[in-house]
């Protein structure tokens, strides 16, 4: 196993080392051609040593390239071309080096012009070999016009208009699988290029069997225990998220691996809509960074996605505790510590600027009056409000009743009377009203 790892490791050095012979042989040719000019004549002796280094590094590149090829999983025809051209390149560069040495010049003299032509021929061979190598790594079509003309699919405007395969499943597979399973690098002889190749599968049979999860090799592999040797993506590459797995599961089992169909055209989409909209980033749920672990929260869509961080910093500077409840949208829980001595005019404007982001607000114990709290009606997304232990009266009740998202309000130890409570209860959305010790002080 350790030996295996060492070969894999050194194999991965090939793409690094291979650029050395490219550079040196190119440099040798440049020196050689330039030396025809009187001004650069003194470069002539450098050609030989540059070629030698090019030759040695080409040998190393061949060695590491061979080790890399042992890992398999490459397109055989392209690999053979790359291998043969690479070895030939190394041999020819060795021969040219020999010719360029002083010792050789005494035995076999070949004309300088012929040497230059051979050297330029070597560069042509090098270009060919390099192209084959790049095809292995990036796929056969990496240098075609398609890359230029390829249409990027526009992001669907809604879940219903999203095409399940083209907009959702295919991009998932492209992102998580195509690096090893497409074009030149067909590991396991399997490609995720399109639905046909998925149905055809690889050396372990079809990757997708419409309607049959247990027979779909692809689904089996992505849901194995991550430590299992057959788990995909292999080698610690980023795994599919739970949302992505759920989508693929639904697409195979419920949608019969449909292609060219929008969500609106498919049946039984209720169970997967949330995941699809999460994947497409269409909803407002708390999934801004990665996996939601299966939780979707019902969040008031009126809450702004952004908030001014400078304002938050300023409020903190004035002694308020500003707690971030959620980042997207920005939900804030703001507390003015009791007996802070802070007066409302000092913080009013900052609070108003963040009004729609404030979800929980605690202004208890700060000697605020009805007049101070007229701003409450601006906090239209407020869900929990604490104004206990303030000398407020029924005058504030109208402002509280107007808050349509409010769930709980704490009026302990205030001067609000039963009439004020009745007024607040007109807002039936308010589920809990705390009224302990009213008018006690």
């Amino acid at each position: 196993m350790i030996l295996g790892n060492i070969t894999t490791f050194s194999g991965h050095l090939h793409p690094l080392i291979v650029h050395l012979p490219i550079g040196f042989i190119l440099l040798a040719a440049v020196f050689d051609v330039l030396s025809y000019k009187k001004k650069y004549e003194n470069l002539k002796p450098a050609v030989s040593i540059t070629l030698l280094i090019g030759f040695i590094s080409a040998l190393l590149a061949c060695l590491f390239g061979y080790i890399l090829s042992l890992s398999g999983d490459y397109d055989k025809a392209v690999l053979t071309h790359h291998k043969l051209s690479g070895i030939t390149l190394a041999v020819i560069s060795g021969v040219l080096y020999y010719i360029s040495t002083d010792k050789a010049k005494r035995e076999v003299r070949i004309p300088g012009k012929l040497f230059s032509v051979l050297l330029i021929g070597l560069i042509a061979l090098m270009s060919y070999s390099g192209h084959q190598g790049a095809s292995l790594t990036h796929g056969n079509d990496y240098l075609t016009m398609r890359t230029l003309t390829q249409q990027v699919r526009e992001k669907p405007a809604s879940v219903q208009s999203a095409m399940i395969f083209e907009d959702v499943v295919a991009p998932i597979l492209q992102k998580k699988c195509a690096q090893c399973h497409q074009n030149g690098k067909l590991k396991g002889n399997f490609s995720v290029e399109n639905l046909q190749t998925l149905l055809k599968g690889g050396k372990n049979g079809p990757a997708i069997v419409p309607g049959k999860l247990t027979e779909s090799e692809l689904y089996k592999r992505i849901t194995l225990d991550p430590d299992h040797k057959d788990y995909m993506p292999a080698d610690g590459k980023p795994p599919l998220t739970k949302t992505e797995v759920q989508i693929i599961k639904w697409w195979i089992a419920e949608a019969g691996a449909a292609e060219g169909k929008t969500m609106a055209q498919l049946k039984n989409t209720d169970s997967i809509k949330t995941q699809v909209s999460t994947y497409l980033g269409l909803n407002n749920v708390a999934t801004s960074s990665g996996d939601d672990n299966g939780f979707t929260q019902a969040i008031n869509p009126d809450i702004p996605l952004q908030a001014d961080t400078l304002l938050i910093a300023r409020l903190r500077g004035k002694g308020l505790m500003v707690r971030l409840m959620l980042k997207k949208p920005v939900m804030l829980d703001i507390t003015l510590p009791a007996n802070s001595g802070v007066k409302m005019p000092a913080i009013k404007n900052d609070l108003m600027s963040l009004a729609k982001n404030i979800i929980w607000l605690n202004l208890s114990g700060n000697n605020f009056t009805d007049n101070d709290l007229t701003i409450l009606k601006s906090f239209t997304n407020l869900e929990k409000l604490r104004i206990e232990n303030n000398p407020v009266t029924d005058g504030v009740s109208g402002n509280i009743a107007a808050l349509k998202h409010l769930e709980a309000v704490n009026l302990n130890e205030t001067k609000i009377t039963d009439a004020g409570i009745v007024n607040i209860k007109k807002n039936t959305g308010i589920k809990r009203i705390y009224t302990w010790g009213r008018a006690a002080k």
Binding site: A286, S289, G290, D291, D292, N293, F295, Q297, I299, M321, R323, L324, M325, L326, K327, M331, D333, T335, P337, I359, W360, K384, R386, E388, A408, N410, N412, R432, Y434, W436
Partner: protein, 504 residues
């Protein structure tokens, strides 16, 4: 020369500063020459803290990974803002408290059927018993509240607030002895060394009160100290040390070494701390050790606590009816009841995680009298805390947790007589409850069999409980991780599922 030194703030040329000077000289050389860029690049390899750009990424070895994890928090809009965890240490018997098993009444003394035990392991304390005679609970059970929940007569006060509780009867653990079981509950691992729940929460969510620690621990003085507790149960493990739980004690020194020593009036304390802080910052500039940051922060916190702690510890403003509600013990500082009252005061100040410990629930023998004493010492104050938080509107966003580290066996350990018996440790099922923010009130979740030996419905593992707790605070338990010794750790290790059915 001596006069010259007095003009300087620090005597940088004295031998004590030699090591620091060497470090600083090299740094200055690097940053002032063209190598400065290279030095910055090297610096970023060792974490941003070297250049003081971000205080949160202070652990030098982890750098960006750590910052990314913290930046993603919170993962959900939290339901709970604070937690009070009433840890009943020793393993309270479920038979005499919440898990009513009427079938057992006719089975006194009968041997535990093999079909129930299924060859499961017992502790070394009862494995050698020739018989495992089952024993019904000595307590009467009655239904209470609108939820008609069965409750033991030993907890009359808790019975009054039963409609606020979400009782989980299907808790199970992996450890069968006290220390590994408590360590497992508090840190997610049976072996010592991992951060406790409160430390994880402090690390992940930070503080809502700049003058008090985020994580405060209160240990009852009136619990029977048959099984020890260790400070590592509220330790920070590998997290930065400012996240460890701070224990508040009874008496005139609630936090050790916080008061000024005799003969010192404290007038130049602030000046001294500022000077010390500058020295520490020089040290930190040279070494970039996150523990220096922690030390600076702790000195400053301790200074603020010299005012805030006496203020919060004082119960002078509490009216009589509050003391009466929490029970007579509540006037005796350091008792469970007094700690419950203190917990309420801390929660009012937005201390994020308050953990109480009450020892003495380990009744291997003499269970009837032992558990009655335990209930008497805790029942009234526990219920009072719920009522008090509720009337103040704090139960709205405070999560209250009650529970021990495991349950007890259906069979009697040691001699079984008509009026006396004991019960051994039983990790396969036991009862806990939660109340307040984000959990459904007045429900019972999970079921055990007629012997309260195995779980028959909805098992809740310790890691599930921890995952649910973090979820209520807005944390995805799989995403709050910390890299240490080359791997990432989390509270729930590699397990844990949020118990969705108990969430509102």
């Amino acid at each position: 020369m001596a006069d010259f030194h007095h003009d300087e703030e620090f005597r940088l040329h004295t031998p004590e500063f030699n090591e620091l000077n060497k470090k600083l000289d090299r740094r200055e050389f690097l940053t002032k020459t063209s190598l400065g860029i290279g030095a910055l690049a090297v610096g970023s390899l060792f974490g941003n803290s070297l250049f003081g750009s971000s205080p949160k990424t202070s652990a030098a070895s982890t750098g960006d990974l750590e910052a990314d994890i913290l930046r993603a928090l919170p993962h959900f809009a939290p339901k709970a803002k604070r937690v009070v965890y009433l840890f009943q240490s020793g393993g309270p018997s479920q038979f005499e408290t919440f898990d009513y098993k009427p079938m057992l009444a006719n089975m006194m003394g009968q041997n535990l059927p093999d079909s129930v035990r299924k060859g499961q392991r017992l502790t070394g304390m009862s494995a050698n018993q020739s018989a495992l005679p089952m024993v019904p609970s000595f307590c009467k059970f009655n239904q209470h509240g609108e939820s008609r929940t069965w409750m033991s007569e030993l907890m009359p006060f808790t019975a009054e607030v039963v409609d606020e509780l979400c009782i989980i009867k299907s808790m199970h653990s992996e450890a069968i002895n006290h220390d590994p079981a408590i360590t497992f509950f508090q840190t997610g691992n049976q072996l010592p060394g991992r951060p406790s729940i409160g430390s994880w929460i402090s690390y992940g969510l930070g503080s809502d009160n700049n003058n008090l620690p985020t994580f405060i621990v209160l240990v009852s003085k009136n619990g029977q100290k048959d099984q020890p507790l260790y400070a590592r149960l509220w330790g920070n493990g590998f997290l930065p040390s400012k996240h460890q739980g701070v224990q508040f004690r009874a008496g005139k020194d609630p936090v050790l070494f916080l008061n000024n020593p005799d003969g010192y009036d404290g007038k130049d304390r602030k000046e001294m701390l500022e000077y010390l802080s500058k020295l520490n910052q020089m040290q930190n500039a040279a070494y970039g050790d996150p523990e220096v940051d922690a030390r600076i922060a702790q000195y400053e916190m301790a200074y603020r606590m010299q005012t805030s702690v006496p203020e919060v510890m004082s119960t002078a403003d509490e009216p009589n009816e509050i003391f009466e509600m929490y029970g007579p013990d509540s006037r005796d500082s350091g008792t469970y009841a007094a700690n419950c009252l203190l917990a309420r005061k801390l929660l009012e100040k937005d201390v994020k995680f308050v953990q109480l410990y009450h020892q003495g629930w380990d009744q291997h023998s003499g269970l009837p009298s032992g558990i009655a004493t335990q209930c008497k010492a805790t029942d009234q104050a526990t219920a009072a805390l719920i009522k008090d938080l509720k009337q103040r509107g704090l139960l709205e966003d405070t999560l209250v947790i009650w529970g021990g580290e495991f349950g007890r066996t259906v069979y009697s350990q040691g001699k079984l007589t008509a009026n006396d018996y004991g019960r051994d440790h039983h990790p396969r099922c036991f009862t806990m409850w939660m109340a307040g923010a984000g959990v459904k009130p007045g429900i019972t979740y999970g079921e055990t069999d007629d012997f309260s030996y195995n779980i028959v419905k909805d098992p809740v593992h310790v890691h599930d409980f921890q995952a649910t707790l973090l979820h209520l605070m807005g944390i995805d338990h799989e995403r709050l991780t910390y890299k240490f010794q080359g791997r990432r750790f989390r509270l729930t290790d590699v397990e844990g599922k949020v118990v969705k059915d108990i969430l509102t």
